[in-house]
């Protein structure tokens, strides 16, 4: 028998109140942890999407943030295209480590298709310092070959060797009333693509896309144009006109020296490109930071809500203990008769409160782990953001310590009641 046994017996005797209080504390802790963990994980996922590029360029007229969201995170296909000569000119304007053309607008089973050059896999790193890795097959080498991102492969079930037809446009939704929005969407069933590779996950936005070469994309769109003019015609690379060779974005990286990832000439290059009104130039790193400045206000709101929930769970612990004091006056009086000092019963009640806080915190960590994984799954499904929920140990420990401190503070008032319990009055016979 120890003081701890007395606390456990006391908690068992009031099981319902103990369990509901623990759950209240657990929900508060879980909410706090999920918000903290998703906040960091979300940020990481956005950082991963932009890989090692320094700049992204789309046609003029859109905002830099929209350019980044569309070109890198597949929010929507960019509306205005860049012409091939514009790209060629751009590629000559600075000493690029790479200038990778990208073209979006088609989809397969709701997943975006990006047409690009072989440099996309050879030079662009989806995560700084990490090259693309194949789970299966190879990268595309010629037209009408497709490489499938890891998440896209999971969603569509595509494997190497499968034959597919791409869809022109991306269906917004299958709900009623979306017909107008989805107008013009049709399947390019004249041209069959072959899946040649499936990528390993990168944790970034590209995981949910399919990749093919620019030529095949230009051919199927040129074919649409030519069939409108003359039904039944076949289209090959030789039939491509300049106007068919459009792209929607360019990923750019400057040559870096001396181990630094940010080249000294980036600001000048950025400024000179920005002066060209036909282009929208964005630095993904800055745009993502800007995006998170906006989102961080929402984060603060959520953190505030979680804080209020934690506080209210502290009050719940206090009320649960305080209400139980009525039932426990007799028990405390008996303990006093048996020789327990006032300080010791004060300690017993505080320890019980702390124990409820600890149990709540531990349950909360478990709940948070499950909750964050469910949340990450939902984000992956709806936004294609691959998030690995993780919580920095410092934040985890801070939340746990805060919970225990709050529980101890919540135990003060009931403990004071226990301290002041009149033994003589509490031991009078019942009835």
């Amino acid at each position: 028998m120890s003081d701890f046994t007395i606390i456990l017996r006391s908690m068992r005797a009031r099981m319902f109140s103990t369990v509901t209080t623990v759950i209240t504390a657990a929900v508060a802790v879980a909410l706090m942890l999920v918000i903290l963990s998703l906040k960091d994980a979300g940020r990481k996922a956005f950082d991963r999407g932009s890989g090692d590029m320094h700049l992204v360029v789309t046609a003029g007229g859109s905002s830099p943030m929209v350019a980044v969201l569309n070109c890198v995170f597949y929010a929507n296909p960019p509306r205005s295209p860049l012409s091939w000569p514009q790209y060629e000119q751009l590629a000559k304007r600075a000493p690029w480590a790479y200038a990778i053309p990208t073209q979006q607008g088609d989809s397969y089973a709701g997943q975006p298709v990006m047409a690009t050059s072989t440099d996309f896999f050879a030079k662009f790193k989806p995560n700084p310092g990490e090259n693309w890795k194949l789970a299966e097959g190879r990268f595309f080498e010629s037209s009408f070959e497709v490489v499938v991102g890891a998440a896209a492969a999971k969603i569509t079930g595509l494997r190497v060797g499968e034959k597919i037809h791409l869809t022109h446009g991306i269906k917004q939704s299958t709900g009623l009333g979306d017909a107008a929005k989805n107008e013009g969407i049709h399947v390019h069933d004249e041209y069959t693509y072959t899946v040649v590779g499936v990528l390993e996950p990168t944790g970034g936005s590209h995981d949910r896309a399919l990749f093919t070469d620019l030529n095949s994309t230009w051919i199927i769109h040129a074919h649409d144009r030519r069939v409108r003019e003359k039904p039944g015609v076949a289209t090959t690379e030789a039939d491509l006109l300049d106007e068919d060779m459009k792209i929607t974005g360019v990923y750019l990286r400057l040559i870096t020296r001396g181990g630094s990832d940010t080249p000294a000439n980036l600001p000048q290059v950025f400024d000179s490109l920005r002066r060209d009104g036909s282009l929208t130039v964005a630095q993904p790193a800055q745009e993502i930071a800007g995006l998170f400045r906006i989102v961080s206000n929402i984060d603060k709101l959520f953190l505030g809500i979680a804080g209020v929930v934690m506080l209210s769970s502290g009050i719940a612990i206090m009320l649960a203990l305080y209400n139980s004091m009525e039932q426990r006056r007799r028990q405390i009086a008996v303990l006093r008769v048996l020789g327990a000092s006032q300080g010791r019963v004060f300690g017993l009640v505080i320890t019980e409160s702390v124990l409820i806080g600890l149990l709540g915190a531990a349950t909360g960590v478990l709940l948070a782990f499950v909750g964050a994984n469910i949340g990450a799954g939902m984000l992956r499904q709806s936004l294609g953001l691959v998030i690995t929920p993780s919580l920095p140990p410092v934040e985890l420990v801070s939340v746990l310590v805060a919970t225990v401190v709050l529980a101890a503070v919540a135990g003060m008032i009931p403990a004071a009641v226990a301290y002041r319990t009149s033994v003589a009055r509490s031991l009078r016979p019942l009835g």
Partner: protein, 235 residues
């Protein structure tokens, strides 16, 4: 050489704050005991009607309340000269209490009720379990691990007695121990309490207004007779 008394009360006076009795004789005190002494191992019945301050007296002896004047000495120690935790510790090891409603710890087993008493005593931790087992055996408590609320009233009474004696007290205070029992059971309960106290060598001060148990005591004191007299006559 004179032995130290288990209990010695001298000039004890008490009244509740804000309450003045219309009793001129006792100077408004609801309790006024010039002197009362219990020798080691002595068993005394203290009688008195309802509201005469019997339970208050026990609370004062146990150091759960402070008197207006006078001294209470238990096994040679002036109870009210001790303060705070040391008085609580003294009560834990020197005074056992038995209540009418037992006041056992609900949610605890029979054995745990006895262990709880030992927890606050000066008995070495290593001896707690063996001491509890011995008492449980001796008092015929046959389900030591059953929760207290699952035991019969008779068994609960045994646990209450065992708990009072767990720390080897010099004095056991019994507050109306038979008030909720029928005559047959009350006789058995008193037999249990008196035998157990006798075996352990503890003195017993039993307060009761139950006339049926008077015959069980060699010495019976009346609270009314004690008031203002030096000591009641032995009966």
């Amino acid at each position: 050489m004179q032995q130290t008394a288990a209990l010695h009360i001298s000039g004890l006076r008490f009244k509740y704050a804000g309450r003045d009795r219309a009793n001129g004789e006792s100077g408004g005190y609801c309790l006024d005991i010039p002197e009362l002494t219990l020798a080691q191992g002595e068993q005394v019945l203290l009688t008195g009607g309802s509201g005469t301050g019997k339970s208050t007296l026990l609370q004062l002896i146990a150091g759960l309340m402070d008197p207006m004047g006078g001294t209470v000495t238990v096994a040679g120690t002036n109870v009210h000269s001790l303060r705070g935790a040391s008085r609580d510790a003294f009560r834990g090891r020197s005074i056992g209490m038995i209540f009418q409603t037992f006041n056992l710890l609900l949610g605890f087993s029979a054995e745990e009720n006895i262990l709880a008493a030992l927890l606050f005593s000066s008995v070495p931790t290593g001896e707690h379990r063996s001491r509890a087992r011995t008492l449980l055996d001796k008092l015929g408590i046959n389900k030591p691990s059953a929760l207290i609320e699952h035991l019969s009233v008779g068994q609960q009474q045994r646990v209450a007695v065992a708990r009072a004696l767990a720390c080897g007290p010099a004095l056991v205070l019994a507050d109306e121990p038979t008030a909720s029992l029928d005559p047959e059971n009350s006789d058995a309960a008193m037999e249990l309490i008196q035998t157990a106290c006798g075996d352990s060598g503890a003195a017993l001060l039993c307060v009761s207004h139950d006339p049926a148990i008077r015959g069980r005591f060699k010495r019976v004191e009346s609270l009314a007779a004690l008031r203002g007299t030096s000591q009641g006559a032995a009966r």
